[in-house]
């Protein structure tokens, strides 16, 4: 059971930058959201890993992760709601095409 913390962090980094890359390149709103999920998860992993390795007795990282999950669930819910609404109006969810958000 000798897993160095660095392993978690590396995985987290890869996930994060995969998310970043996706965020940059995707034009579909859903795909963009997926990328955001990746980034959030990467952060969550880091929280959990650091909490475990650095301060095993404390719970902050743990709870941050917990709350992070809750927040991302909320974000996804709202994001998808908006997206569906947009789709209903313009039949499209390409980021570039949705420039007129004003009423």
């Amino acid at each position: 059971m000798e897993i160095n913390v660095i392993c978690y962090l590396l995985v987290g980094a890869v996930m994060l930058f995969a998310g970043v890359y996706g965020f940059f390149t995707r034009r579909n709103l859903l795909a963009t959201l997926i990328s955001v999920e990746l980034m959030l998860n990467a952060a969550n992993i880091n929280f959990a890993a650091f909490n475990r390795y650095l301060f095993p007795g404390a719970l902050e990282g743990h709870f941050f992760t917990l709350f992070g999950i809750a927040v991302s669930a909320a974000e996804t819910a709202v994001g998808i709601a908006i997206m569906i609404n947009v789709y209903r109006n313009v039949r499209n969810i390409q980021t570039d095409d949705i420039s007129e958000l004003k009423g």
């Binding site: 970043v20 940059f24 980021t95």
Partner: protein, 630 residues
């Protein structure tokens, strides 16, 4: 003599009253207010003159210079400040009398002349304003006060010339008068500045040390001041405004452009006379030459004009030239006799004011009768207007220098002074005096004798003017008849000492003979209804006649300078430069900023992804920088 301040205050009060409330008054009330106030001022002036000259002379035989009232008005530095006050000395007292007399006469006269005119109240308000300014000018205690009132008379003259403001000629004339004199006043102002700075005071009587410091600059300062005087007094080549100023109502021409304001330049030179004599005799002689040339020029132009007011205007210019010459030929060497010209000039100023006002008022009556200024509409008027005829004749005789009328005496003194200066000058002035007699009688015959314009007179019979207009004529004619016998030399002389006027037999005879010959010539040429000689002369020298008629093209020359050079070569290019170069540069800057914005605008794409990308790149760069720095 503190009451003299009321001489200044009454007209200004009347002006304010008429200007602010005049429109609510009837013509009669407003005219009465103006006239009564002016009458009171005239009485005060006579009292002042009487009181002043009955004061005992000082130990050195001169009249004391009184300053009954003086207050600092605008301080500049410790020693330089504008004061407002009243200064009484022989010439200012003399001027008070002249101004108030003529002004009072003009006020009365205007009752008839301006009857029923629109803006009657305004007219009287302006007359009051003018009288106030002119009185302030002559009683000035210092050169700057003089300048202040100098400007004020300029403005009142502007307002009165432009009285008929719906007439384009009147507008142009008023504008021209103001701008030309203003241009000349620039010289006056700079002269004052030089004077004030080098002599250390604006007062007329600087301290000895001040004079020592300023002696070097005084000729220049006085010369520049004379430029101002030349503008006001219509000396060549700044005379062009005066003939045009005849567009104003005729009583105004009588008051401002014949009797009072136009002699302000003479008065100014007289006021600075002690300094001229002591420090700038050469400048004084320049004044004489300018005056002589102007006198000759104006006299020759007056010989061919057909508008009677223009003739009188050029005659005024010529006579003012006489006064300037008289001042200019003074020398300091024998201070008493050398100052004869000064006395002569002031004397002529006095008599000229009376008979020239008379001439103008008479001309006003004539214009009133025939409704035109042109000589061609007149002729033979002596039957219709006897009073005007007689008084006009008296004035013509006076200006021609026929004894015993006042002009003879004053002109004789001037000629004596000129002969004392140099015989050449004396003969030139005698010749001009002859020309004066000639053109005045040409005018006289043209109006009252000569070829009568019968159809016009049949259609509209000329009539004698009402008493309000003839009364001033008679008063002024009476003054003209007796003024020559005033012992003027007892009151006003160059060095202040009493001077007995004695006629130089030679000079008097010469000038009389010349005048009589000139009158005879004029009688021969113009008295009959046919004028073969005059027409023949005009045909013989068409170019000369035409040039003289067009006043030797001085107006065109000035028009060229102002319109072509200043307007077209300076102002327009400057305005263009401003709009296109200066403003263009600013607009170019704005355009440059705009263009740069257009260039970098694509970076603000509105795509959140690119923003995040830039953000990310920024973080990377920052982190790298941190790493490299640590």
């Amino acid at each position: 003599m503190e009451y003299t301040i009321w001489i200044l205050l009454l007209p200004v009060l009347s002006f304010l009253l008429l200007a602010l409330a005049g429109m609510k008054m009837s013509h009669r009330v407003s005219g009465l207010i103006g006239t009564v106030v002016l009458g009171a001022v005239a009485v005060l002036s006579y009292m002042a003159a009487f009181d002043y000259f009955s004061l005992p002379r000082q130990a050195d035989g001169t009249y004391a210079t009184l300053i009954p009232w003086n207050a600092e008005w605008l301080p500049f530095t410790g020693s330089l400040h504008i004061d407002m006050g009243v200064l009484l000395d022989p010439i200012s007292v003399m001027m008070l009398v002249v101004i108030t007399t003529v002004s009072f006469m003009v006020h009365i006269y205007s009752f008839g002349y301006m009857k029923g005119e629109r803006g009657f109240q305004r007219y009287y308000a302006f007359l009051s304003l003018f009288t106030f300014s002119m009185l302030g000018l002559v009683v000035a205690t210092n050169i700057f006060q003089m300048y202040v009132f100098w400007e004020l008379v300029g403005v009142s003259s502007y307002l009165l010339i432009g009285f008929y403001y719906t007439k384009p000629e009147a507008i142009a004339a008023s504008k021209k008068a103001f701008i030309v004199t203003r241009f000349a006043d620039l010289g006056f102002l700079i002269g004052i500045l030089i004077y004030g700075f080098y002599v250390g005071t604006f007062s007329f009587t600087p301290t000895e040390t001040g004079l020592m410091q300023g002696a070097m600059m005084l000729p220049l300062a006085l010369g520049l001041m004379f430029v101002g005087g030349a503008g006001k007094s219509a000396m060549f080549p700044l005379h062009i405004w005066l003939p045009d100023a005849m567009e104003g109502p005729t009583p105004v021409s009588a008051l401002i452009h014949a009797a009072t304001m136009v002699v302000a330049g003479v008065y100014q030179v007289a006021r600075m006379f002690p300094l001229y004599i002591a420090y700038a005799p050469d400048t004084l002689h320049i004044v004489a030459y300018v005056g002589a040339f102007t006198a000759f020029y104006a006299a020759s132009v007056a010989c061919v004009q057909s508008d009677i007011k223009r003739v009188l205007a050029f005659s005024t210019i010529s006579q003012i030239g006489f006064m300037m010459v008289a001042l200019g030929v003074c020398t300091g060497a024998p201070s008493h006799e050398g100052g004869l010209g000064y006395m002569a000039s002031m004397f002529h100023l006095f008599t000229h004011a009376m008979f020239k006002a008379l001439l103008f008022l008479g001309a006003g009556c004539i214009i009133h009768a025939v409704h035109s200024n042109e000589m061609s509409t007149m002729g033979g008027l002596r039957k219709y207007m006897p009073v005007t005829h007689i008084t006009f004749l008296i004035a013509c005789l006076a200006i021609s220098g026929i004894p015993p009328f006042s002009g003879f005496f004053s002109k004789d003194e001037i000629l004596t002074a000129c002969f004392a200066f140099s015989p050449v000058m004396g003969w030139i002035m005698t010749l001009i005096a002859g020309m004066t007699a000639f053109y005045m009688f040409r005018l006289y015959y043209g109006i009252f004798w000569g070829r009568e314009n019968k159809e016009l007179h049949a259609a509209h019979v000329p009539h004698e003017s009402p008493l309000s207009m003839t009364f001033p004529l008679m008063v002024l004619a009476a003054i003209t008849c007796v003024a020559g016998f005033i012992p003027f030399g007892h009151f006003v002389t160059g060095d202040g000492l009493s001077y007995d006027i004695h006629l130089d037999a030679g000079v008097a005879t010469t000038s009389c003979v010349v005048a009589v010959v000139a009158i005879a010539l004029a009688t021969f040429m113009y008295a009959r209804s046919e004028q073969p000689v005059a027409d023949a002369l005009a045909r013989r020298f068409p170019k000369l006649h035409r040039a003289a008629y067009r006043r030797f093209y001085m107006d065109e020359a000035w028009l060229f300078v102002t319109k072509r050079i200043i307007f077209r070569c300076v102002s327009r290019p400057l305005a263009w430069f401003d709009r296109h170069v200066v403003d263009g540069f600013m607009n170019f800057l704005a355009w440059g900023a705009n263009a740069t914005g257009e260039e970098v605008q694509p970076m603000q794409s509105g795509r959140i992804q690119s923003y995040v990308m830039w953000f990310m790149a920024g973080i990377i760069v920052l982190t790298l920088m941190l790493l490299l720095c640590m």
